[in-house]
Amino acid sequence: MPEKTYIEAIRDGIREEMQRDERVMILGEDVGAKGGVFGVTEGLQKEFGEWRVLDSPLAESLIVGVAIGAAMNGLRPIAEIQFQDFIMPAVDQIISEAAKIRYRSNGDWNVPMVLRSPFGGGVHGALYHSQSIEAIFAHIPGLRVVVPSTPYDAKGMIVAALRDPDPVLYFEHKRAYRAIKGEVPDGEYTVPLDRARVVREGEDIALFSYGMMVHASLEAAERLAADGFSCEVVDLRSLRPFDRAAIVASASKCGKVLIVQEANLAVSVASEVAAIIAEDCFDSLDAPVMRLGGPEIPAMPFSPPLEQFYLVTPNKVEAKLRELAAY
């Protein structure tokens, strides 16, 4: 199987699905001629033409609004928001329209739209290019929110998202684009949108994370393995809906739990996972459920040492794991 980067895997998935399904189209800022600021859609306009890969004005509300309308009228649009930080003007369209149309129309209408957006920090993006605000959308019934962490999942999940009849928010960690490589099969396959995956089996501590934090967690888990502690690493992959059964299975098995995310902790994905565990795994817990996330600071700073301070690193995960192991 060929090894590909995360960004190539997303592009492959989109390209193949565009070849198979004429309804699939892309719109967003600089997605056409430039091929996207990160290059996700590179070459696609040349291959599929200006009407299927559409450069939009700098107006996120318009991008999502047009995508909703196109989806309701039979297309399969991918709306790209250049940075998750810029999604705010479109939040009304996403939360108040896309998420609610099926419910509001009693199932007569649906919005088969995919919204792609890069998130996360660690690339010296500073305040306006580093945020992780997935929890806002994970809160909203009517949406799917997925965060693939590997190239394999990136391709399989973008295809699955394009075939899903309802709005899917597909968030890509921008640091993963070129840093994460992995085997990606040629040709057609999908990865389910609502299943977590055990990426490393273990028995002592269950580690839940998503996006780049899966990789930080794996690295930390390896370091503990050297000392005889076995950590189970679970990639949540879907933040709405959560794969409750998978969360409960791993948490119950290990009895000790650490949830790792890049976003700050208050009212977040980690909060919800902890709540699920508290509700369903109480009798299996052998330690307090622990969480690790960004600090309660309004934004990721630009200064490299301050950015390092802000980020959740393998060292920080390791320290937390050792705390749990010793408990």
């Binding site: 817990l285 052998d286 010793a326």
Partner: protein, 489 residues
């Protein structure tokens, strides 16, 4: 018709009240709006008016009971024909009250005081409460009881030095493990799930031949929490974790020796005692005192007091001058307007000045909210109003909560030197003693000046002598520096 009277909402944040005294008893005739009971919330008393004319038929909540807002306290026979439907819900409500009654027997009236005292029925109360005492044990929900029951299940004699996680508790139940036999490898010797599993593996391996394998019979008592059914309750909850709190410090019963009489403790007395002991145990108290030359204040007061009283209807005392100076000094020294927390010192933006009011049988500290927004006149009228209503038991609960600093006018009682106990969770309490004319050296001459001792008791965790003294001298300078010719609005 029997009309059920419920505990009224006595203030915005009030959730329960203690029946201090029934003013009407079964058989008494009642006029609408007549007071039927005195209710204590925290330290303030309120009277409950009758909702209708009638005759008191039943006191559902006894004196001393803590009753949640909205729960029935008594029923009044209004003499109107009863409808069947109305009677039913009442029957259901009664057990709910019984629960609260059971708790109240051991719960001091001050809500914050509850956690420690609640855990253990220290002693069966003489008289009517004995019947409910076992039920209290059954209803005890406080955390200390849980590990105790877990240990009982494990049958070990350790005195609660470690806690047992749910996972370990499940394993104990499943495998019939005696936890005293298990060596803990977790932090502080905590027994982890792994420790139990390894123990079980070893035990079962060695016991396998003798046939005495994992039988739950090894467990002397069921590991379930104390049963809720009264049938199981009568065993008086054994020595469930001796309560270290102040409430248990008092001996259980005390028969006065010859020549001694025992004055029964009122709810208020218990509340004050609990608060004082807790404050002294919580905060390391340190003290600082300065003398204040009250000449300027005296001159202003002497000149203004007649007009002031005419204008505002209240007497002009030294208190509002000192209160104003305290507020200004707190603005300059915010760590005196603060509370201790393990996470850090919580500095309060609002300055809510508590003014201690001494009553014959009570101590009340009504609070002047946002005292920094009031002038000397505003403080004088506000404090006079709060003081008058404190004396007539007409304070709302919100008026005695949320203080950030307390001022105690000990001079009003004639004291010249006092060391007060901090009103928790505040950082300090200030006492202003009697203004006394004293000969003092002014330059090289001796003059007669009105002098007041100004004392501060402060929590040494939050401030050191440096900050405390700076604060007190700030108050002193502000008072001494007043313009004697100033007029009050």
């Amino acid at each position: 018709m029997a009309l059920t009277v419920t505990m009224p909402q006595l203030g915005e944040s009030v959730t329960e009240g203690t029946i201090a005294r029934w003013l009407k008893h079964p058989g008494d005739a009642i006029a609408k709006y007549e007071s039927i009971a005195e209710v204590i919330t925290d330290k303030v008393n309120a009277e409950i008016p009758a909702p209708a004319d009638g005759v008191m038929s039943e006191l559902i909540a006894p004196e001393g009971a803590v009753v949640p807002v909205g729960q029935p306290i008594c029923s009044i026979d209004t003499g109107v024909a009863a409808s069947d439907a109305a009677a039913e819900p009442q029957a259901e409500e009664v057990p709910a009250v019984a629960t609260t009654v059971a708790q109240s027997a051991e719960t001091p009236p001050v809500a914050q005081a509850a956690p420690v005292a609640k855990a253990v029925p220290a002693e069966p109360q003489p008289g009517e409460e004995t019947a409910v005492a076992p039920i209290q044990a059954a209803f005890t929900e406080s955390p200390p009881a849980t590990p105790a029951s877990g240990e009982a299940a494990g049958g070990n004699g350790q005195a609660g030095g470690f806690h047992v996680t749910p996972a370990v508790r499940m394993l104990v139940r499943e495998h019939g493990v005696d936890l005293s036999q298990v060596t803990g490898t977790g932090i502080g010797g905590r027994i982890s799930k792994k420790d139990v599993l390894e123990y079980v593996q070893r035990r079962d391996a060695s016991a396998g031949s003798s046939g005495a394998a994992r039988t739950p019979a090894a467990v002397p008592a069921p590991a379930t929490p104390p049963a809720l059914s009264p049938a199981q309750a009568p065993q008086p909850a054994p020595s469930a974790a001796p309560s270290p709190g102040p409430a248990s410090a008092a001996p259980a019963s005390f028969a006065g020796a010859e020549g001694e009489t025992v004055v029964p403790l009122s709810q208020v007395r218990k509340a004050i005692a609990e608060h004082m002991v807790r404050s002294r145990q919580t905060s390391p108290h340190a003290y600082v005192m300065v003398e204040v030359d009250m000449s300027a204040v005296s001159q202003i007061r002497d000149r203004e007091k007649a007009a002031f009283e005419q204008r505002h209807g209240v007497k002009l005392t030294f208190l509002p001058f000192v209160a104003r100076a305290v507020v200004e000094a707190l603005q300059r020294h915010p760590t005196l307007n603060a509370s201790w927390s393990d996470a850090g010192i919580v500095v309060k933006r609002a300055i809510n000045l508590g003014i201690a009011v001494a009553l014959e049988d009570n101590l009340i500290v009504p609070v002047v909210r946002d005292a920094d927004r009031l002038s000397i006149s505003g403080l004088a009228t506000t404090m006079a109003d709060l003081g008058a209503r404190a004396r007539s038991n007409h304070l709302k609960l919100d008026e005695i909560q949320g203080g950030t600093f307390t001022l105690n006018n000990t001079g009003a009682l004639g004291a010249v030197m006092t060391q007060a106990i901090i009103n928790q969770p505040q950082a300090a309490i200030m006492t202003m003693d009697l203004v006394v004319k004293r000969p003092v050296a002014v330059g090289d001459a001796i003059a007669i000046r009105p002098i007041m001792n100004l004392g501060l008791s402060f929590d040494h965790r939050i401030n050191d002598g440096l900050q405390a003294t700076r604060f007190v001298t700030s108050v002193q300078k502000l008072l001494e520096g007043l313009d004697p010719s100033a007029t009050l609005v």
